[in-house]
């Protein structure tokens, strides 16, 4: 299945709300772990696993290291979907 960037954000929002246990969370490209109380070492893995399952991708570690914000995550997902 392929997605464009506009389709990625709503799906990510669902994942973020569920994993970080914040039903009203609105995600934006500039959002980072510092902005979400429950976004820490443990939940980061759960979030990445959920992203990989949802989009059918595998995020390599080198890319994971560079993902600091939701915007980076969207770009990474988009790149992996196109490759």
């Amino acid at each position: 299945m392929s997605y464009n960037i506009d389709e990625i954000m709503p799906k990510l929002q669902v994942i973020f709300r569920e994993v970080f246990d914040e039903p009203n969370l609105i995600i934006k490209p500039e959002l980072t772990a510092n902005d979400v109380a429950q976004w820490d070492s443990l939940t980061h893995i759960a979030m990445i696993n959920s992203v990989e399952q949802t989009f059918g991708i595998v995020i390599p570690f080198q890319m994971l290291m560079e993902m600091e914000s939701v915007g980076d995550l969207v770009q990474g997902i988009s790149q992996l979907l196109q490759s």
């Binding site: 976004w39 443990l42 893995i45």
Partner: protein
């Protein structure tokens, strides 16, 4: 005058003045000579102010001033007390009061601990150039090097005064058994309030190595791996959680520059370590057991995959042998010594152990016992261990409700006390593990008087970040066991 733990640093200022001593976030590096100038500046200020306090607080951030302040206070001959900006104000205020601090060093001028506390703003000190001969005479003769606070089961944190002599014993052991050099690069990835930071920082200064300080990050394990790779770190001290969290990614990484990797703070799993060993193929991996009360670490087990596979119990790598100066006693529930090979509570005696907590005269964890024809003061660890046929000790579990959360020691009772007071109800906290065996906390409250958001908010104000439950669940009634106690086994199944 006695040597202080800063003497290793001062010695290497003389040997390697132009060698890089530390690199702080944003890649700013300081040579031993440059760092000495900052240390000297703070030290001279303490002398000029005629500070006679035996304990000096340091408001710790990951900048050069924090490192310089730790070294300056140590060289001055006083005990340093780290204060963590990430801890709740109430906890920091408790530490300041409990240690009776009158002087706090900080690079931030705006913090306030009370009218009776003199704040020395380090970034505002006037620079006076001073280099060779790199000598700072201790002005005080305090035997305590630092005081750290651990979780207390009564709901109150306990101050642990660790002697310079105890830390020096550990460093002597490291120097005799592991061969650090001025070419090594250490990573300091711990909070300054966690004793592994002492090992990473002062460990780097033992032989004139360089120490990298990490930037703050909510997702620490990713950043640690990034630093190891980017800065070619050669000596690492980690909590096992780091390799537990990164298991999935380790096969993608090879860090051939890592020479030593020391683990402590939690049970180290053999299956995780076997994967990690392939990521650091040239490193000697060492599992170490320690308590804040035992000057960081007090045992060692040099990991070799095939041997460890035979010796590990419940997938837990042995904690190995205790340092030669330490006396070990394993006791049963009645306090009697168990037979060889049986499980018992680990009790430790020796110069690496503290003899009392701060301001706590009667503490049940300390007791006298006759061993090897000597009456020794033992510290009761609460850890259950046994000795295997090869003479290595194995960690089996706890005999109480203390848990380790990413290396931090947490008394569940301390969190329950706070939660009960906030919500005016009965509360229980359990530790669960995710699929990678990473522990996290879940709290249960019985008909609280506050809503969940208010409870969570107040908790953030009162307990340290690593003690915050991942989830708080409201119940009409907490389940009870047959003897009327809160049934935590049932609660665990409800998560």
């Amino acid at each position: 005058m006695e040597k202080t733990i800063a003497h290793y640093f001062l010695e290497n200022c003389r040997r390697f003045p132009q060698q890089t001593a530390i690199v702080v976030p944003k890649d700013k590096s300081y040579t031993y000579e440059e760092l000495f100038q900052q240390v000297h500046l703070i030290y001279q200020h303490l002398v000029a102010q005629n500070i006679t306090d035996t304990r000096i607080g340091i408001y710790c951030t990951n900048d050069v001033w924090t490192v310089a302040a730790i070294l300056a206070v140590s060289a001055y001959g006083a005990a340093y007390v780290p204060i963590n900006p990430k801890f709740p104000t109430s906890r920091n205020a408790f530490i300041v009061a409990d240690c009776n601090l009158r002087c706090v060093l900080s690079s931030e001028p705006t913090i306030f601990f009370g009218e009776n506390i003199s704040l020395i703003c380090l970034s505002q000190l006037n620079n006076t150039e001073q280099v060779a001969p790199y000598y700072l005479n201790p002005q005080l003769a305090v035997d305590v090097a630092y005081i750290l606070y651990t979780s207390g089961s009564t709901g109150v944190p306990k101050g642990v005064p660790v002697k310079g002599e105890s830390v020096a014993m550990l460093f002597d052991f490291l120097l005799q058994n592991y061969h650090f050099s001025e070419k090594d690069t250490f990573l300091q990835c711990f909070e300054w309030t966690f004793d592994m930071s002492v090992l990473c920082l002062f460990g780097a200064f033992l032989k004139g190595s360089c120490c990298y300080l990490m930037e703050e990050s909510s997702i620490k394990w990713v950043q640690i791996l990034q630093y190891i790779q980017q800065y070619k770190i050669s000596v690492l001290a980690l909590v096992p959680s780091v390799i537990a969290l990164s298991q999935k990614y380790l096969p993608q990484l090879v860090f051939s520059h890592v020479r030593y990797c020391f683990f402590s703070g939690e049970a180290l799993l053999h299956s995780h370590t076997a994967v990690w060993a392939k990521t650091v193929p040239l490193a000697q991996i060492v599992n170490m057991y320690g308590l804040t009360e035992s000057a960081i670490v007090i045992s060692y087990y040099n990991f070799e995959e095939n041997i460890s596979a035979k010796e590990s119990v419940n997938d837990i790598v042995p904690i190995g042998h205790f340092f030669p100066e330490t006396t070990i006693l394993l006791v049963n529930e009645k306090g009697d010594e168990v037979n060889s090979g049986e499980i018992g509570e680990l009790c430790l005696a020796g110069k690496q152990l503290i003899v009392a907590y701060i301001n706590q005269v009667h503490e049940e964890r300390f007791f006298y016992y006759q061993k090897n024809a000597q009456t020794l003061l033992f510290y009761r660890s609460g850890d259950l261990v046994k000795r295997n046929k090869w003479g290595n000790y194995l960690y089996i579990g706890r005999n109480d409700e203390q848990v380790q959360i990413q290396g931090y020691r947490v008394e569940l009772k301390e969190i329950e006390e706070v939660l009960s007071k906030i919500a005016h109800c009965r509360a229980a906290v359990v530790a669960k593990e995710d699929e990678n065996k990473n522990a996290y906390l879940v709290a249960f409250v019985e008909k609280p008087t506050l809503d969940l958001t208010s409870i969570a908010q107040k908790m953030q104000e009162l307990v340290s970040f690593y003690m915050l439950p991942k989830k708080i669940i409201i119940l009409n009634e907490l389940p009870l066991s047959l003897n009327g106690k809160i049934d935590k086994k049932t609660l665990k199944t409800m998560v």
